[in-house]
């Protein structure tokens, strides 16, 4: 009995260890640090080495298409200091940018920061600026919508 159960244990262990190994190498390959623009500048030298995912709002009017490459700027306001920091992005991905990628959209770009300070992204996600912000700007408050 003991020996039979050992066989199951060994079989299961082999499967689990193989998967763990594959998981680890996949992790090494695709890990990216998710940072805000402020955090990116705060991490200084490290920022050039890591694969990064950076979130920010697309600055209105900054989107410029040059053939397949899209240049634009994302910005983010620091919540404490109220200072707005910007990051120039060059999107070189093979996929077309998502439909939601427009002025003021929240964009998440994935790639590396170049030595010239331009962020070269090969992946991008974008979300529409939330409707709620538009409305509070118009002076309409909603009950329970917060």
């Amino acid at each position: 009995m003991k020996r039979k159960q050992l066989k199951f244990l060994v079989g299961s262990l082999v499967i689990v260890l193989t998967l763990a190994y594959l998981g680890f190498s996949g992790y090494q390959e695709s890990k990216a640090y998710y940072q805000t623009v402020t955090e990116l500048y705060a991490s200084k030298e490290k920022a050039y080495e890591r694969r990064l995912k950076v979130a920010g709002d697309v600055v209105p009017g900054s989107i410029q298409r040059e053939g397949k490459v899209i240049n634009f700027v994302i910005s983010q306001e620091d919540q404490q200091t109220k200072k707005v920091q910007t990051l120039a992005v060059q999107y070189v991905g093979t996929d077309a940018p998502p439909d939601t990628f427009v002025d003021r959209a929240q964009a998440v770009v994935e790639g590396k920061l170049g030595q010239d300070g331009v962020f070269v992204a090969n992946k991008m996600q974008a979300k529409c600026a939330s409707k709620y912000e538009k409305e509070s700007a118009a002076g309409v408050k909603r009950n329970g919508a917060e």
């Binding site: 009995m1 039979k4 159960q5 066989k7 199951f8 079989g11 299961s12 499967i15 689990v16 193989t18 998967l19 190994y21 594959l22 998981g23 190498s25 996949g26 992790y27 090494q28 390959e29 695709s30 890990k31 990216a32 640090y33 998710y34 940072q35 995912k53 979130a55 298409r65 053939g67 397949k68 093979t94 996929d95 077309a96 940018p97 998502p98 439909d99 939601t100 427009v102 998440v108 994935e110 992946k123 996600q125 974008a126 979300k127 529409c128 939330s130 409707k131 709620y132 002076g139 309409v140 408050k141 909603r142 009950n143 329970g144 919508a145």
Partner: protein, 701 residues
């Protein structure tokens, strides 16, 4: 109507709470009247929540924009069917829909088992109603869909406000696929509440035979069917609407629905071992608890904003309540399981590695591993932030590296498992069952390999990966290599399944004189569970083949003016027209593209890029030429600034059609397995078979 809805909701809350108390007190004091009253209250809760839901639907149909939720998700010009689908177009309404389905299912369960399982049913009612109470309080106190819009005056007074028109439904939700996707998803997710409730009730009432499994077998399958269908519909929608050329991107919201499906699949298979051999009892409890928790967790994930996703709902306070509910439900169920362990002793032990039980066990193990990997990858930003203070995300390569080998192994077990004998398979039976399928699969694999599929790519030393294994091998496992593996096991499984039908039908037609096709049909109808399962497996094979095709996708994008051509494999695309179109709802840039295959014109495609005027949101209208062999997927990615050229992106996606065909066959197999077995008419059959059928019949009652 809003007041009626609000009132019905409040009443639902009271009735639901009463149902729980009456059921539990009734059990405690063995008071049948109280138990019956609790049961009736569960039906009452269904009536109340249904009224609430109908009220909300009415508000949408008449476009009552004094209600915040209606104003935010609908507008006057929206077609009626989208007004109705807009009910679940946002947080509050979709939660209400969730809660409503739960009460529908609960009412069905108590009516179906009105006079049955008297020891267990009061507990089932109590568990289902506890879940319902959680949702009802969410509707009532946290995400109430009936809130009115008010403006705040300078004096601070709040005055009701009715906007002239609503803000409209998100254009991405204005597609029929996406309108029906959420309800089907909920039918699946909520459905697992039923087997969970029976499992907990079985533990509470110490009725730990397999009654709870037999009673909920069909419920589990129905929930599993809906969940799987919803996942595939979501993939189909992403494929035809989002314009990135794929159908699965390992986005958190996709993962959220995949996790319960993976464990649910393990549960669906694992219960068979308990039914036949009385084994894996604790394990099955763990599986159904985890499936249900994953259903709630998925709902939590998409609504709380804990992980960022393209699809996620707005961040809201609702996450905390869901997290609390998950903790309570999970710890409660696990404590109960721990306490009842002595009642869950296994009646048999695993004897051989090569046996039906062991194949089920490995199937469970790797499905769980897959779920764990998906969970880990999805939650990694949260985990790494908690542990190391930095958010680290992982993307497709991580998920693929783990899950692709898992899927291939799982597929292999799909072929092997059903044909292995219980306890221990003899070498002879292995030879008899697998020699042909393995031979044919390997021959097919060799054929594909000669044609260039799956060749390992030798890499330059600097390109070889960092890991030791990769250094030793000198090449990396390319996706093409995995695709070859996937295709080989697919052929293997397909041959085993077809052979089972063939052998069964041949034996039957020689015994009854039916022709072959009749024999296949009758064979299936006589043992729907077995043959329905085979059909489902075959569907899974087809889906798998379509998925393997992903390894060979290519794409190109180019700026093209009128008359320019783009080459893609054996296809050539020629831009014939570029134009703009203006409608009241949207304006669009459009191209008319002729598609030539080997020089012969096969289609005209119209990729388009629209900008919806109300929301100022652009959408991509993909144009697809779809065949059984491959899809040519054309996207209008934008225009150059001078307006003379269009950026046209072309994807070449082999075998994608088989994903959808496979999904349909998988669903069909599930439906067959749900049918009751047709009774034998006259033919004598061996004893063992009869007793099995009797068991089945008992299960149905």
């Amino acid at each position: 109507m809003a007041q009626l809805g609000q009132f019905a909701l409040a009443l639902a809350f009271v009735v639901t709470a009463y149902s729980i108390v009456a059921s539990l007190v009734g059990i405690r004091f063995k008071n049948d009247k109280l138990i019956d009253s609790g049961r009736n209250a569960a039906v009452g809760a269904f009536v109340c929540v249904t009224t609430t839901f109908v009220c909300l639907a009415y508000l949408f149909i008449v476009s009552d924009f004094s209600i915040n939720y209606v104003a935010q998700h609908s507008n006057r010009d929206l077609p009626l069917y989208f007004k109705i689908s807009a009910i679940w177009g946002g947080q509050e309404g979709s939660l209400l829909f969730w809660g409503w389905i739960l009460t529908v299912y609960s009412a069905l369960v108590v009516i179906q088992n009105w006079r049955k399982h008297s020891a267990m049913m009061p507990y089932v009612t109590a568990v289902l109603m506890s879940t319902s109470l959680f949702f009802t309080s969410m509707h009532l106190f946290v995400a109430n869909p009936f809130n009115q819009i008010v403006t705040v005056q300078a004096s601070g007074a709040r005055v009701p406000f009715v906007p002239a028109d609503g803000e409209g439904l998100n254009p991405l939700l204005q597609y029929i696929l996406n309108a029906i996707h959420p309800p089907i998803m909920y039918l699946g997710l909520v459905g697992f509440a039923v087997p969970f409730a029976f499992a907990v009730a079985a533990m509470l009432s110490r009725q730990l035979g397999d009654t709870w499994i037999r009673t909920t077998r069909r419920w589990t399958m129905v929930a599993w069917f809906f969940l799987g269908t919803a996942i595939l519909l979501g993939g189909k929608w992403a494929y035809v609407e989002l314009g990135w050329g794929g159908f699965w991107g390992w986005d958190p919201v996709e993962n959220a629905s995949l996790m319960p499906w993976l464990i649910g699949t393990a549960f669906l298979h694992s219960v068979m071992v308990q039914e036949k051999k009385g084994m894996l009892k604790v394990w099955n409890m763990v599986l159904i608890i985890m499936t249900y928790i994953m259903c709630i967790f998925g709902t939590f994930l998409t609504r709380s904003g804990v992980v960022s996703s393209v699809h996620a709902f707005a961040q809201s306070s609702i996450g905390g309540y869901f997290a609390a509910y998950i903790v309570v439900a999970l710890s409660g169920a696990l404590y109960l399981l721990f306490d009842r362990l002595p009642y869950l002793k296994s009646e048999n032990q695993m004897e051989s590695l090569v046996s039906r039980e062991s194949s089920f066990m490995f199937n469970n193990l790797i499905l769980l591993a897959a779920c764990f990997a998906v969970f880990w990858g999805t939650m990694f930003p949260v985990i790494s932030e908690a542990v190391k203070g930095v958010k680290i995300t992982v993307s497709a390569p991580f998920f693929n590296k783990v899950n692709v080998p898992i899927a291939i192994l799982l597929m292999f077990l799909t072929g092997v498992g059903p044909l292995l004998a219980w306890r221990k398979a003899s070498t002879n039976s292995l030879k008899r069952n697998f020699l042909w399928p393995a031979g044919i699969a390997l021959a097919a694999g060799a054929g594909l390999f000669i044609r260039g599929v799956g060749r390992p790519v030798l890499k330059a030393p600097e390109e070889v990966g960092q890991s030791i294994l990769q250094k030793v091998l000198g090449y990396s496992f390319t996706s093409s290599f995995y695709a070859l593996g996937a295709l080989v096991v697919s052929v293997f499984v397909a041959v085993t399944v077809i052979r089972e039908f063939y052998k069964g039908a041949k034996a039957r037609s020689s015994g009854t004189g039916e022709n072959f096709l009749e024999a296949v049909v009758n064979l299936t109808l006589r043992n729907t569970r077995r043959y329905g399962g085979y059909v489902a497996h075959l569907g899974f094979v087809l889906l798998f083949i379509g998925w393997a095709g992903q390894a060979f996708t290519t794409d190109t994008s180019s700026e093209a003016a009128i008359g320019d051509t783009i080459a893609m494999r054996q296809y050539v695309l020629r831009v014939d027209k570029l134009g703009v179109e203006d409608t009241p709802n949207y304006s669009s840039q459009k191209a008319s593209v002729s598609l030539f295959e080997d020089g012969r014109k096969v289609a005209v495609l119209y990729p388009e890029r629209r900008v919806y005027k109300a929301s100022n949101q652009p959408t991509t209208e993909v144009s697809i030429w779809s065949t059984l062999k491959e899809d040519v997927y054309v996207v209008f990615a934008g225009g150059t600034r001078d307006g003379k050229k269009a950026i046209i992106q072309v994807y070449y996606n082999p075998l994608v059609m088989w994903v959808w065909i496979g999904g349909i066959v998988l669903g069909l197999g599930t439906l067959i397995a749900l049918l009751p077995n047709k009774k034998a008419v006259s033919r004598k059959r061996p004893r063992a078979d009869q007793s099995e059928e009797r068991k089945e019949a008992e299960a149905k009652v």
